[in-house]
């Protein structure tokens, strides 16, 4: 079992409040990600769960038990660090067995557990080497092995893949997903890499300045960001944001005298729309016809996709995603059209205003 509940957790470093009244529930067996910009408190939050950081107020509950005052070793958690944090003076075998030896488990049992972990992580050949003789990916696997053998209630990962090169990261990601399937244990994972979060998470907590901005499934975060921060943070390239200068029930007045009709009748009332967000893939780009006319100032060609940066005079610079796009080049005059079914509208405080697409989902 490994149900983790954070109940009004706050943390101060002197005057500075790094965690602000955080409430989160992580279900048993769930794979939860903490994402956010540098300094948002995501690592501190993870370290508060492990007990490596004391919290100033609130409670950390594991399976209903308040562990806020327990030392890290008594919380039944295992952590994998970004820097691997292996013990460099002992072999891989001893690294994996380290915690078991400290706990004075019988030797036969230790050997069996180490062998099992080595098998799962394909480390059998490396057991008698020292960490210095391993590659980055192998070291990280040893760190994971050290965590597995202790049968923890939950695994905590602090940016475990960010020291690896791109190809290895993809491979380790696949291995982690497989590991997670076979272990069925709660995992909490801190990363600044959205792709890791989107591809692996059951739920993602987006943190900003010590607060949880939104805690939801990856697709829910992407499709229905609750506020402007989440909208611009999740998704790469970033969502296009336009200022709204005025509105009537179904039409938005944008900068440069442009107007945009939203389908249905959103019926904005007390919430005054202030920003309009459109994801790059919800814009189309054509040489012939379209809503707004502009010029391609930059083309990022990835082969499968192309990201076109289009300057529309008086309005904004848009990022447009074209799938298999080949025909349009830098400097071309083009027309861009937003898909009004997939627009996001936010009020002056950055909060989401529900428009048509949510209503459509509810109908369906």
């Amino acid at each position: 079992m490994g149900r983790i509940v954070l109940d009004h957790v706050s943390k101060h470093f002197g005057e500075l409040q790094v965690l602000k009244d955080i409430c989160l529930e992580i279900e048993d067996g769930e794979f939860v990600f903490f994402v956010g910009p540098s300094g948002c408190g995501k690592s501190t939050l993870l370290r508060s769960i492990t007990g490596l950081e004391d919290i100033t107020s609130g409670q950390v509950l594991i399976d209903g038990e308040d562990v806020s005052d327990l030392p890290p070793s008594e919380r039944g958690l295992a952590m994998v660090f970004q820097s691997y944090a292996l013990f460099p003076h002992i072999t891989v075998r001893d690294n994996i067995a380290f915690g078991l030896k400290i706990a004075k488990i019988p030797k036969a049992e230790i050997d069996a557990k180490v062998a099992e972990a080595a098998r799962i992580l394909s480390l059998e050949e490396l057991l008698d080497r020292k960490p210095a003789a391993l590659s980055g990916g192998q070291r990280q696997r040893v760190a994971i092995g050290r965590a597995i053998v202790r049968d923890p209630k939950a695994f905590l990962f602090d940016e475990p893949l960010s020291n690896l090169d791109a190809a290895l990261r993809v491979q380790m990601r696949v291995e982690l997903i497989g590991l997670r399937k076979s272990l069925q244990t709660t995992m909490v994972y801190v990363t600044h890499d959205q792709i890791e979060a989107m591809t692996m998470a059951d739920r993602i907590a987006v943190l900003n300045a010590g607060q949880v901005e939104q805690y939801d499934t990856p697709l829910e975060l992407y499709d229905h960001p609750e506020n402007l921060f989440v909208a611009t943070f999740i998704g790469s390239p970033k969502m296009n944001i336009l200022d709204i200068e005025g509105h009537d029930p179904s039409t938005l007045n944008l900068a440069g005298g442009q107007v945009l009709d939203l389908p249905g009748s959103p019926g904005f009332q007390e919430q005054r729309p202030a920003c309009l967000g459109i994801r790059p893939e919800h814009m189309t780009c054509s040489k012939n016809t379209g809503l707004w006319e502009g010029e391609v100032v930059l083309e990022e060609q990835l082969g499968s996709d192309a990201f076109l940066y289009v300057d529309v005079p008086g309005l904004s610079r848009f990022t447009v995603r074209g799938v298999g796009q080949r025909g349009i080049r830098e400097g071309d005059k083009v027309h861009v059209t937003p898909d009004t079914e997939h627009c996001h509208v936010f009020d002056r405080d950055g909060r989401r205003i529900e428009t048509v697409d949510r209503a459509a989902d509810v109908d369906a």
Binding site: P71, M79, H89
Partner: protein
């Protein structure tokens, strides 16, 4: 080209002169230890002595072997005692956050600012009053004590270098602070420990003044014996030479053994790696 060669030759020559200045007394001492007293001052000098002449050593050791043994026991014990006290202290000062930690660390260092000899008379009175004059225990405790501040400070610098995550990983794996210290911090700090141990060893092995004050006969150390060869009536140069060679041997061996560690230890923390 020839200018370059000449410059290199000059530099080499200069280096050799300087080396000669520093090594000449040691070489003279080494050679003299194999000569009878008459040969040491004979003119013309006897450049190469009969290395089979071991009379000086035989006489020296047969009369003074127990003082050499004192020196060995006192030095090893003091080094060990100093390490046993200062390494955990340094680990605690770097790992635990407690009120007055920095003050405590500075205070430890401040005791180093006093020259040991300034404490000689007070130490004599204290040691005498508890009846430990002329015992090796007094010297062991005092030598260890004088080196603790230095040892703590150097040890702190190498414990700080152990990655924080590795210590945290040990904590998460269930280690107590003591286990973290013994199983992780110490093995990762071997170079630093070797450096500190070498310095403490050399201090204790070569210390003369306190030993002179605090011993009379039973606990006399080897440096005190050497100093006793200078008497009001004459100076026993052949004895001094042989004794100094013996005195120098452990330091040379110890330093050679530890050299690799000392070099990495002394430059440790100098640059970010």
């Amino acid at each position: 080209m020839s200018r370059l060669v000449r410059r290199k030759a000059l530099a080499l020559l200069g280096g050799m002169v300087i080396m000669f200045i520093f090594t000449a007394p040691i070489i003279w001492m080494f050679l003299a230890s194999f000569k009878p007293i008459a040969q040491i001052f004979s003119i013309p000098p006897v450049w190469v002595p009969d290395f089979g002449h071991l009379g000086n050593y035989a006489k020296l050791l047969s009369e003074n072997w127990q003082f050499l043994l004192n020196s060995v026991i006192i030095t090893l014990s003091a080094t060990l005692l100093c390490m046993v006290i200062s390494l955990p202290a340094a680990f605690a000062l770097t790992q635990f956050r407690f009120r007055g930690r920095n003050f405590f660390a500075d205070w430890v260092l401040s005791t180093r600012m006093m020259p040991p000899i300034a404490a000689a008379v007070p130490l004599y009175i204290v040691v005498n009053s508890i009846g430990m004059i002329d015992t090796i225990w007094a010297l062991i405790v005092i030598y260890a004590g004088f080196n603790i501040p230095f040892a703590v400070w150097v040890a702190m610098s190498f414990f700080r270098k152990v990655p924080k995550e590795v210590l945290e990983a040990a904590e998460l794996e269930g280690c107590t602070s003591g286990q973290t210290f013994l199983k992780v911090a110490l093995p990762l700090s071997k170079s630093g420990i070797a450096t500190v141990a070498t310095f403490v060893f050399i201090f204790a092995w070569n210390e003369l003044l306190l030993a002179l004050f605090l011993t009379t006969r039973a606990a006399k150390t080897f440096p005190v014996v050497i100093s006793s060869f200078v008497t009001t009536s004459m100076t026993f140069w052949e004895m001094i030479a042989a004794a100094t060679v013996i005195q120098a041997i452990p330091t040379v061996i110890f330093t050679l053994l530890m050299q690799r560690h000392i070099v990495s230890g002394l430059t440790m923390g100098a640059v970010k790696n």
